[in-house]
């Protein structure tokens, strides 16, 4: 099933004397596919939680249509969830599944091409009816016509077995059928030796107000598990040992969850009340949902009338001394551009979260892309610099959110945090930090309470644009503070006094000062993150954001083939780390894979005059590790020739 040889390690005996063998694997990629109403995302999330609590390393890729309920049984309605789990550290949800579970003909048709020959294919036989087959253009039933001979196909009547299991539940047929995803989850839980208590607890919690539904789902789940144990259809089950991880407490976390918790932590660690102004948009809405749950922390969430009101209300809250945050996706950033420039001009702290999705326009709302980098950098009128940072994994969204808040508060500037759909919905095990180990942001708040200048006659006065010489941040004097009344706004302000100024020299000075303030952030960030184990690679791969996992997996493959390559990954995209120019100059060739048409490459070429080799794709899906490995290998070989002892690139992560 995987690149590693399976080893039969033990036998288990099931009721009825059936002896089943257990095969040990180092990693598996499972894809669950069904109708958008079949509950595939829930099933996937539950399997993920079981896997996480078992101790495997994992990475997930949910993939669903923008339509909430596309017509049943059609190709546009197919929803899938891919999970990669292993007994070692992994970085991606896997290039291709080893196992495909297809709940109907549409799911089979939409996903079969991705299942390598010989892979395990589990089908719900009940759904392969003439009507369902016709809907997706199958002239004959693939289960019977021999077209699936290249795969290990197991066709099981999942729906009717679920109905049988729930015959005494008192539920109607339609309601009982809905539990077939839990039957399937039970079967998979048996196949992969997953702990089941968590799922049972989850179902009890989820349906605590509908105990009959909870009971039915638990019954279906157990029936699926028992079916696996007793049926002859599955002779083998698989064991994937826990992955070695650093000691500590872990949980499974998605990017949007981690980002939300990072914002809560930033508020707590700065002492500032958090205000979120947001308009619902895929794939960012879950941050609004999550933060809305944490009112006990004094967090105010405001569902605004539109994207502009989302950011405008956050700016108003920041003026009042809150940590103002707005969350959105690319089309929302377009709408917020003018207000972003207001935050730049008024020099107020603001965190803007852009969970990027396929664009332009409405684009691919539920698919991932990283094509808003240039919009984040330049999408405003005038010279309007702001800080831009990006998380690299779901769990890293937590730290990135705290870092965004740190920069916003310290430098009194909007910060764009560029997550994406893959990070937002993907999940991984996350080592739970202790709150006291998180950065202390209280020192950065520093509200102004005393006049900082005086008029010609010596009267003390407050100068709202007299800057901190080190950070160039202006004072943050909040309404309610006596004697500090001042007016800010979008018109150009005179240095120090903040009065309206149309003076040519002042505008030139203020424009350069705003830029210098953002450039100066580089002094507060560490050196470029370079992974070059031998220190003498001549080729480097540079990335940002969610490509970290696929690039890292690709780099591992290349290194296993005996080649040398450095991986550079950027958290800070504006400003870049101070040493980035020197780092890039060390390498003969620099490859930059991006899920856009070369936006970081453009910035690096412009700033450092380095001949970056851009490798791009915009398929709405993360890169495949194998594809990146091949690209990197070609660059290395064309630079220095293939290593003498080169093995063919490939293998697992």
């Amino acid at each position: 099933m995987t690149a590693t040889d399976p080893a039969v390690t033990a036998g288990s005996s099931a009721p009825g004397g059936l002896v089943k063998s257990v095969v040990e694997l180092d990693r598996v990629v499972i894809r669950l596919a069904g109708d958008s109403g079949d509950g595939m995302q829930l099933t996937g999330n539950r399997f993920t939680s079981e896997t996480a609590s078992f101790g495997n390393d994992l990475s997930t890729l949910p993939n669903f249509p923008a339509e909430i309920r596309a017509p049943t049984g059609t190709l546009p309605g197919v929803s899938s969830f891919q999970l990669h789990f292993a007994d070692h550290d992994i970085m991606t949800p896997g290039d291709a599944p080893d196992v495909l579970v297809a709940m109907n003909p549409a799911a089979l048709k939409a996903n079969l091409a991705d299942l390598p020959g010989g892979g395990l294919l589990i089908l719900d036989a009940d759904e392969f009816t003439p009507r369902n087959l016709a809907k997706v253009g199958y002239a004959t039933n693939p289960i019977e016509d021999g077209s699936l001979e290249g795969w290990q196909t197991v066709s099981v009547p999942l729906t009717s077995m679920t109905l049988d299991a729930l015959a005494d539940s008192g539920l109607g047929k339609k309601e009982a059928e809905r539990s077939k995803n839990m039957f399937t989850l039970g079967l998979l839980s048996w196949m992969y030796h997953r702990p089941t208590e968590g799922t049972i607890r989850f179902l009890e919690r989820q349906f605590r107000r509908k105990p009959e539904i909870a009971a039915a789902n638990i019954a279906a789940f157990r029936a699926g598990y028992n079916y696996g144990e007793t049926t002859e259809a599955f002779a083998v089950s698989y064991e994937i040992k826990p992955a070695p991880m650093a000691p500590g407490k872990y949980r499974n976390i998605s990017g949007n969850q981690a980002l939300s918790l990072g914002l809560v932590a930033a508020a707590k660690r700065s002492g500032l009340p958090l205000f979120l102004g947001a308009y619902p948009i895929t794939p960012a809405s879950d941050i609004l949902h999550e933060l809305s749950k944490h009112k006990a922390f004094g967090i105010r969430t405001f569902q605004a009338e539109d994207e502009i009101a989302g950011i405008a209300s956050a700016i108003g809250a920041s003026f009042g001394g809150a940590l103002g945050v707005t969350t959105t996706s690319g089309p929302g950033v377009s709408l917020k551009s003018e207000a972003l420039a207001l935050a730049i001009m008024t020099e107020l702290p603001l965190v803007v979260v852009d969970v990027q999705r396929g664009g332009p326009s409405t684009g691919l709302p539920t698919k991932t892309e990283q094509s808003d980098l240039l919009q984040a950098m330049f999408g405003r009128n005038g010279e309007a610099p702001l800080a831009v940072i990006a998380p690299r994994s779901p769990g890293d969204c937590f730290d990135a959110a705290i870092e965004a808040a740190r920069i916003a508060i310290t430098y009194r500037t909007p910060v764009m945090l560029l997550s994406d759909g893959y990070l937002a919905n993907g999940a991984e095990p996350w080592q739970v930090p202790s709150s006291e180990d998180l950065p202390d942001l209280t020192g950065a708040v520093d509200f102004a309470t005393e006049p900082n200048g005086s008029t010609a006659d010596g009267t003390p006065e407050f100068l709202p644009y007299l800057r901190n010489p080190e950070t160039l941040a202006r004072p943050w004097a909040i309404p309610g503070t006596a004697g500090m009344q001042h007016r800010i706004g979008g018109l150009e302000k005179a240095d120090k006094t903040g009065n309206i100024s149309y003076d040519p020299e002042n505008h030139d000075f203020m424009t350069r000062t705003r830029q210098a303030k953002i450039d100066g952030i580089a002094a507060s960030i560490g050196p470029t993150d370079v992974d070059d184990p031998t220190g003498d690679a001549r080729v480097a791969v540079i990335g940002w954001g969610s490509t970290y996992g696929p690039i890292g997996a690709g780099v591992r493959r290349v290194r296993r083939s005996g080649r040398k390559v450095a991986q550079i990954h950027l958290r800070h995209l504006n400003p870049f780390p101070a040493d980035l120019g020197e780092v890039l100059a060390r390498y003969d060739r620099v490859v930059c894979p991006e899920m856009n048409l070369g936006q970081l490459a453009l910035l690096l070429r412009a700033k450092y005059l380095v001949d970056i080799q851009s490798h791009t794709q915009v398929r709405g899906l993360p890169f495949r590790a194998a594809e990146l490995a091949a690209v990197i290998q070609d660059v290395i070989d064309s630079t220095s020739g293939a290593p003498l002892a080169a093995d063919p690139t490939g293998g697992g992560e």
């Binding site: 650093a246 949980r251 002492g271 009112k295 009042g320 006596a482 979008g490």
Partner: protein
């Protein structure tokens, strides 16, 4: 103030920095200074409206009446958008933000809900609030956030030099409409009432007493208050309100709204407002109707259809224009309800950061 009542710090930063900053500044001057004069609300900035602009009159009226509200300058914030009227904050010695076109109600909303201790005002114009910012205006009104909105209506775009506005009468000849404008104007009062506003008033820039009276009621209202102020643009739309300002015609066409008083107006009270057969309102001659049929103004009526019917008495040529407070009713304010939700959450839950970081399902890897 209540922003921090919900935060129970556990070994984290001791005091909410907002409270600390406010307390420090008050301590340094002894106590909140609320015994103020009009001049205390003036800034050192030169007022740059055109000579003769109605905005001067409004600015003076506001600066003169504010001391009577007893609000300290530092507790007042004026947020404006873009347009002539939106320069207002620069001339007021309070906190202020001259923001971007149309967005002032949204900025004010974020500020007012996160700082319920402040008195938050919006100054806007007919283009700013009814054209580019129409969406924010109606949503602020329906939410009933505690803000006071002064809508300077001069029925023209002044700062861009004279295009017609969403309140210009049909057929308005301007630079952008040489053959006359085609679109039907908004009646801002009707719009506000339709948007569930809890307080709606209208006043004339030159009527210091009437303006002050409406502004005072608006300022004291809990919730979103909208005051439409007819404001003369003497450069691009001079005389737009002369029908109502001219002593010869003003009495004839203005209907003064006084809560609890019969709606009688015109020379010698010759005209009045009565109910029509369809449940709306119409104008009648006082001597032609029974005195008991004359409508007695009730600004506190819960059902907004009466206030709406009042707003429909006037037409775009300003005949039969009610002036005063149309509607003033009490409803829970958005900011207060949000604070209450936070209080409930704080009472029922905890703000233990480590607890939410761990979540429901964790596992431990031992060394």
């Amino acid at each position: 103030m209540s922003t921090t009542d919900h935060v129970h710090d556990l070994g984290m930063p001791a005091a909410n920095p907002i409270d600390a900053a406010v307390a420090a500044s008050v301590a340094s001057q002894g106590e909140k200074q609320t015994a103020l004069k009009a001049k205390d609300f003036k800034t050192d900035q030169e007022v740059r409206w055109c000579p003769g602009c109605g905005d001067y009159v409004i600015l003076n009226a506001v600066q003169s009446f504010l001391p009577s509200l007893g609000i300290a300058r530092e507790d007042m914030v004026i947020v404006s958008g873009i347009g002539c009227s939106s320069r207002f904050p620069y001339y007021m010695n309070t906190y202020g933000m001259h923001s971007i076109h149309g967005r002032a109600p949204a900025i004010a909303t974020g500020l007012a809900v996160s700082r319920p201790d402040l008195s938050v005002w919006v100054v806007t114009g007919d283009g700013d609030s009814l054209s580019i910012g129409g969406n924010h205006l109606i949503h602020a009104l329906r939410r009933n956030v505690n803000i006071t909105i002064l809508l300077f209506n001069n029925r023209i775009y002044g700062l861009t030099k004279g295009q017609y506005s969403p309140t210009s009468e049909v057929g308005k000849v301007t630079k952008s409409t040489p053959m006359g404008s085609l679109d039907h104007p908004f009646n801002p009062v009707s719009l506000a009432i339709g948007a569930e506003a809890t307080f709606v008033g209208r006043a004339m820039d030159s009527d210091r007493k009437g303006l002050t009276d409406v502004l005072r009621q608006a300022a004291e209202h809990q919730g979103t208050a909208l005051v439409e102020i007819y404001q003369n643009c003497n450069i691009f739309n001079d005389g737009a309100f002369d029908l109502l300002k001219d002593p010869a015609t003003g009495t004839q066409w203005s209907i003064p709204l006084v809560h609890g008083e019969p709606l009688v107006f015109g020379a010698d009270g010759a005209a009045c407002v009565v109910r029509d057969d369809l449940g709306g309102l119409r104008i009648a001659e006082t001597n032609q109707v029974d005195a008991s049929d004359i409508v007695v103004h009730d600004a506190h009526r819960e059902d907004s259809s009466y206030a709406y019917a009042l707003s429909r008495l006037s037409s775009q040529d300003l005949r039969y224009t009610p002036m005063g407070v149309f509607r003033s009713v009490q409803k829970p304010t958005y900011d207060r309800m949000m604070s209450e939700q936070l209080d409930v959450a704080a009472a029922e839950g905890s703000d233990d950061l480590d607890a939410i970081l761990g979540g429901n399902d964790t596992w431990t890897v031992s060394a």
